[in-house]
Symmetry: C2
Subunit: 392 residues, 2 copies
């Protein structure tokens, strides 16, 4: 067991109609001039954006808006947001949307609160010393960015996708109304569930310092998401299932499911970041398309954890050797992905990469992680390429 810090200051306001409390929350956290940052047209079409601006108007809170955050949010829009905030003297950011809008807002927040190029933080060149305070109205259960310290931005030049984490960017509040997620396309709902589970699985498959309590929480969370993801496939308007998944999304990535371990593995995420940078795939689907190949490549080096996962999460038959049980767990996970219509390899994801492209992704990934990385098994460039190839 390793020492750990745990810091989740975000005030969560969870339930039906909670977006109506946005003005009170902004005031509570001292916001006077707001940048409302959102993604595509869905928050406009659904009327959510109008409800939010009406609430702010009523409360006499001044704001500007910036839409356009896309999945794998782009650095160009971040720069635009920073300029806008400086010009308008914005002192509080409100992200309305999912991980794209929130991550983009976090990057804008870093850019406003720190001198110099904000990309430096994502490029591991220096550390932020602050971030503009941020609130969230969540519309997709997936990334957990609404309580996490992390954000991922893609630089257009070279399609470089990088993450940066610091406690400064943890949102001050997160409004979570499960009803807002009911209109999501089924594929996005399923991708969200995949992402949520992977955030906890990345922390679970380690070779260092596990806590029984953390394991018990992680396993309970994974079982709950698995069950409710299947419910949402058939009944997307099921409020309770939406709520279970939404709250799981926050807990899966706020640090709770990693307490006491070595920080986690995170190689599936790193490999997927290369996919996402190059092909602009849905993050959750990209993760699932990589995971099986990653798992088969590493499980022998992390056998006790894969066995525990197979039994306590996938609830497979416990007969046979540890390796057989572990493989049964991996197969059950892939079967679960298929049952919610999520791809389990690059082909199913619609990617026909050449060997050169796979080699380029492995190379970029290795550079991105500083040569090698992983806890279940430490991977170098050659290993990464082998996993990419196996996932074709």
């Amino acid at each position: 067991m390793f020492d750990f810090n745990y810091f989740t200051p975000t005030k969560v306001v969870f339930g039906k109609g909670t977006e109506s409390r946005v003005a009170d929350l902004i005031k509570e956290f001292g916001g006077r001039k707001i940048l409302i940052h959102y993604g595509g047209g869905s928050v406009v079409r659904s009327g959510l954006l109008k409800r939010v601006t009406d609430t702010l108007d009523e409360a006499g809170i001044s704001y500007v808006t910036l839409g356009g955050a896309v999945p794998n949010p782009r650095l160009g829009l971040v720069y635009e947001g920073i300029e806008l905030c400086k010009k308008e003297n914005v002192d509080f950011l409100l992200a309305v949307g999912g991980g794209s809008a929130i991550d983009s807002a976090k990057a804008i927040g870093y850019g406003v609160a720190n001198e110099g190029d904000v990309w430096d933080f994502y490029d591991y060149k220096r550390k932020a010393t602050g971030c503009l305070p941020l609130g969230v109205i969540l519309t997709i259960a997936a990334t957990g960015s609404e309580m996490s310290d992390s954000s991922v931005i893609t630089k257009e030049e070279g399609l470089v996708k990088r993450g940066y984490s610091s406690d400064y960017s943890r949102p001050r509040f997160a409004i979570m109304n499960p009803e807002l997620t009911m209109t999501l396309p089924d594929y996005q709902t399923a991708c969200g569930c995949t992402d949520i589970m992977m955030h906890t699985m990345e922390r679970y498959f380690t070779n260092g310092g596990n806590m029984e309590l953390t394991d018990a929480l992680a396993e309970g969370l994974l079982r709950t998401v698995k069950k409710n993801a299947l419910i949402l496939c058939k009944d997307p308007k099921n409020y309770d299932a939406r709520a279970e998944v939404m709250w799981a999304g926050s807990l899966a990535h706020n640090g709770l499911t990693g307490c006491g371990n070595d920080g986690g593995d995170w190689m599936t995420h790193k490999l997927e970041h290369e996919l996402g940078g190059l092909y602009d795939v849905a993050h959750g689907a990209g993760l699932a398309a990589i995971w099986g190949s990653w798992a088969r490549f590493v499980y022998k080096d992390c056998l006790p954890r894969f066995k525990k996962f197979a039994i306590n999460v996938m609830e497979v038959d416990e007969s046979g050797s540890d390796e057989e049980i572990a493989i049964r767990g991996i197969e059950a996970m892939e079967e679960f992905y298929r049952s919610i219509n999520i791809p389990t390899n690059l082909r199913e994801l619609g990617i026909k990469a050449t060997d050169e492209e796979l080699a380029l992704m492995a190379k970029k990934c290795a550079i991105g992680v500083g040569g090698e990385m992983g806890s279940a098994k430490v991977l170098n460039e050659e290993d990464m390429l082998a996993i990419f190839r196996a996932s074709m």
Copy 2:
């Protein structure tokens, strides 16, 4: 499922030797003049207090000290602390100890930050509008006060024990070094485990709005504490078991295990508060001495939850009727209490109450809760008396 708020801003610094970081944390949260509040002599004898004051001296942080917080901490000492803080211009409280020191410090914090008599808050007369910021070095895993919004104070006159909760009193930081709990007497360790489990069980046995995710986390936490409490009976210096229990203590009472439910039952706590006020028993032991009688009195009105608890937490045989399974779970819990040498009734607790004393406790309890209370089953004064009698 009910809507909920979740707010746990406490920065947790968990692990070996973490008390050495106290000065940095106080500075991080803006403390300049500190009141160090502690309980009995153990933090003095162990050298912990000296290590803390040495660290503050080195960092140039000014402080005054106030010891003497006792189990079921007293209002008189709270008044003394408030006076001392005002006289010395204290702007930050540091509680070194367990629930007694932390709860007492929270009450001092309310008293300094609000005009008038601090008892008013505990007497339900008015609400606090602030609390002096507070940090904690935890030495006992039990009450969860290090992350919770609650505190319990006993007024000497009439031995009235009352709780008050507000987010203002949530500690800014909590330093948790499991090693500091290794020298606790076995009985206190076991009482702590009982208290921790009860904080989650109070939230679990409800007739309203349960979330599957919350249940999964609660059940995992309860199983983990149960297992590690048994380990600590035989091996009190087991670091990992100490750590599991310590972290569980915080998560059991910071709100996590109650998300989505109706707020919980809490009648075992209310009944125990009367015991604790009148007889000065260890809180955890008092809870256990009441719980079995409470459970048998209410389980038919909350059968699905008692059945779920029996199967998922106590892991009993699932044969027979729901009632049989529920009773098997209650019996298994009592057997667990006995196995860690914790009393399961008032007699074993060493209390020989007269019928007049039981009636007085039931009456005070009913007044304290405003007539009647409970979620598993709503209890009035007559019910409370019946439970006290059954627990003799």
